[in-house]
């Protein structure tokens, strides 16, 4: 099975439900293990594994380039052992592979034959954000389950349910605001609700939803870009990008957030171009190894576009 959909839409929840349905409440007894694998070049890889008697959950992308080794070793080991517990409801074990879309091609190729060969002992559930990066042979072997983000009404129902269980009353304006802010991500919505409840216990009056620090920081960067275009400003922006990168914010997210903010603040005719270059440099960033170059290149590009637009409005 392959579950795919945006984050916070409930993929994990559905997987857990499937497991419970298959094996009963026994799957909830989890233990966390650390396993060590040897890469071909004798490097040690440590991988965290969550497992119960019936299933095992791994995030192979933790191993970076060596994810193929993890997949090969671990799956074969599980596949070649049979379920020993006679009371088990099913004869097979389940392997859950998180972030399947960040698996390398090699690792995905390694999955292909194992999936078929050991059908009787093992079933695989893949969990991914999108199917674009999965190779076609894997997709054709799986039952695809698209998990869409919940719509505002459904989210409101969930938030009200949480409020009822807590228990406190949730004003509808507050609920609406939270839903708008979370953009379909239910996990985020519930966390925001919790944070708000801590700040203002009665949840009435004007609410200020605290944005994550990096988001405000990105917005600041965007404002800097729009307000002045000069080499000095580029240096300033560069320092800020370094700050963001050193706090482990993924460069794609930085680029996307800054670009969205810049687009909000410029003239209609420029918007398409700015997004075009954002997409262009995003790909380069993926292919290249040093992210900061591409972020800067984009900033300079946007600045020059904007400058030209201001100086010669007719040509833009």
């Amino acid at each position: 099975m392959l579950f795919y959909g945006p984050s916070g839409a409930g993929k994990k929840t559905r997987i857990t439900c499937t497991l419970r349905e298959l094996f009963g409440p026994g799957v909830e007894k989890l233990k966390i293990d650390q396993r060590i694998f040897l890469s071909p070049s004798k490097r040690k890889l440590e991988i965290n594994i969550v497992q119960s008697n019936f299933h095992i959950e791994i995030t192979p992308s933790e191993a970076g380039n060596y994810d193929r080794v993890v997949i090969q070793e671990l799956l074969k080991e599980i596949a070649q052992t049979q379920q020993v517990d006679l009371n088990a409801k099913q004869r097979f074990k389940v392997v859950i592979i998180n972030e399947a879309d960040s698996l390398s091609r090699d690792a995905q190729a390694a999955l292909r034959r194992t999936m078929e060969k050991y059908m009787s002992n093992m079933r695989i559930i893949l969990c991914a954000n999108s199917t674009s990066r999965l190779i076609a042979p894997i997709k054709s072997r799986c039952l695809l389950m698209r998990v869409a983000a919940p719509n505002p009404d459904e989210m409101a129902t969930v938030l009200n349910y949480v409020a009822k269980r807590a228990p406190f009353t949730l004003p509808s304006e507050a609920a609406k605001k939270i839903i708008d802010d979370s953009g379909g991500n239910l996990r985020k919505a519930i966390l925001v609700l919790e944070a708000l409840k801590m700040q203002t216990p009665d949840l009435s009056g004007p609410l200020a939803i605290a944005k994550p620090d990096w988001e405000t920081y990105c917005h600041k960067v965007a404002d800097l870009i729009v307000s002045e275009q000069s080499p000095a400003r580029v240096m300033e922006v560069r320092a800020k990008f370094y700050e963001l990168l050193s706090h482990c914010i993924p460069p794609t997210i930085i680029l996307k957030t800054v670009a969205e903010r810049v687009v909000e603040r410029v003239d209609e005719s420029l918007k398409a171009d700015i997004m075009h270059w954002a997409a262009f440099y995003e790909v380069r960033m993926r292919i290249g190894s040093k992210k900061i170059y591409h972020l800067e290149a984009w900033v300079v590009k946007v600045m020059s576009l904007y400058k030209v637009f201001i100086v010669l409005p007719s040509s833009a």
């Binding site: 990066r133 042979p137 997709k139």
Partner: protein, 326 residues
């Protein structure tokens, strides 16, 4: 099977498919049916696929060792039947295109030296990824996608023996959504039959079910997206060119966000949009080719792992521009 029977005297086999990347024709299936005796299978066949470690060291040790042993005498089969048994062993390298160049290079000499007692059989999707010296040592078999009539008869056969109630429109949908890939069609059929039998009383399988299982974006959604970009769709008046409002940046952006929230796969959206644009009745050649360029670039970007939302937005904006500027 006929052509494989004739092929037996050939020293090596290389089965390949056309490099358009068609998948899951019964390559592995037809291979295994040559060595039919179950008793001889174990000591005469070595099967390695991408799930096994296949670096150069394995080629040098495991494969070489297996290749140089003389095959044992043919065991009398336990079930009393006689099976054809050729006087050599077979090494099957499945998914050979994922082997490294070095490993393939190490195979060259092994293949020749032990040709009398061991035959190699490489299976791959793309023959271009097999190094030239190996490819020239093999006789090649190209497996083209199954034609619709034979896949439909196979599907009907499966449905009949599994007592699944399907009509011909469902089978047609299966074949069109899986685009010649029989395994995918069978997987879809299996999932659909599970779904339909889970309700009580069982509901018949409809083409819409198949499309949902296949992960196809519903036509209404694609049409809606297309009309936001300014492509005329069937739901609009044909002469409504003047009435078409060129949607603003904001509208397109929010539409893309909405699509992403629904969790559709970007490549799927792109390919369906592509079909819509290419077969569009009123767009002119220049517009279509500009759009096709955009789609190609986006596909490359997505393959490189670019961000989906940014690229769908990029495609949307450029298609929009192509349509409004000319």
């Amino acid at each position: 099977m006929g052509h494989l029977e004739q092929a037996k005297p050939q020293p090596f086999w290389l089965c390949r498919v056309n490099y358009s990347g068609e998948l899951s024709e019964p390559r592995a299936t037809s291979l295994l049916s040559i060595f039919v005796s179950p008793d001889n299978f174990r000591n005469r066949v070595l099967e390695l696929n991408a799930s096994d470690e296949r670096g150069i060291s394995i080629v040098r040790e495991k494969i070489k060792n297996f290749a140089r042993q003389t095959p044992r005498a043919q065991a009398a089969s336990s079930d009393g039947k006689t099976y054809p048994c050729p006087p050599y062993k077979i090494i099957i390298l499945d998914e050979a295109d994922s082997m490294t160049q070095d490993a393939q290079g190490a195979l060259r000499r092994i293949m020749e030296t032990y040709a009398r007692i061991t035959r190699f059989c490489l299976v791959c999707n793309y023959v271009t990824r097999i190094i030239e010296p190996l490819a020239s040592r093999c006789s090649k078999f190209r497996f083209t996608p199954l034609d619709p009539t034979s896949s439909s008869s196979r599907l009907a056969y499966i449905a009949q023996s599994e007592h699944i109630d399907v009509n011909s429109t469902v089978i047609d949908t299966l074949i069109s959504t899986s685009s010649g890939d029989l395994r995918r069609a069978i997987t879809y059929l299996q999932s659909a039959s599970r779904l339909s039998s889970s309700t009580n009383p069982p509901t018949p399988i409809t083409p819409v079910d198949i499309q949902e299982i296949a992960g196809v974006v519903p036509e209404a959604v694609v049409n809606d997206f297309a009309s936001t970009l300014g492509i005329e769709t069937d739901s609009m008046d044909v002469d409504g060119k003047g009435g078409m409002v060129a949607s603003s940046f904001g509208a397109i952006q929010s539409k893309v966000k909405e699509l992403m929230r629904e969790g559709f796969s970007a490549t799927q959206i792109l390919s369906q949009l592509h079909d819509l644009v290419i077969l569009h009745p009123t767009m002119n050649g220049r517009q279509k080719s500009t759009c096709a360029l955009v789609f190609a670039e986006a596909d490359k970007a997505l393959c490189d792992g670019a961000d989906e939302e940014l690229w769908i937005l990029e495609v949307a904006l450029r298609v929009h521009k192509a349509l409004t500027s000319s």
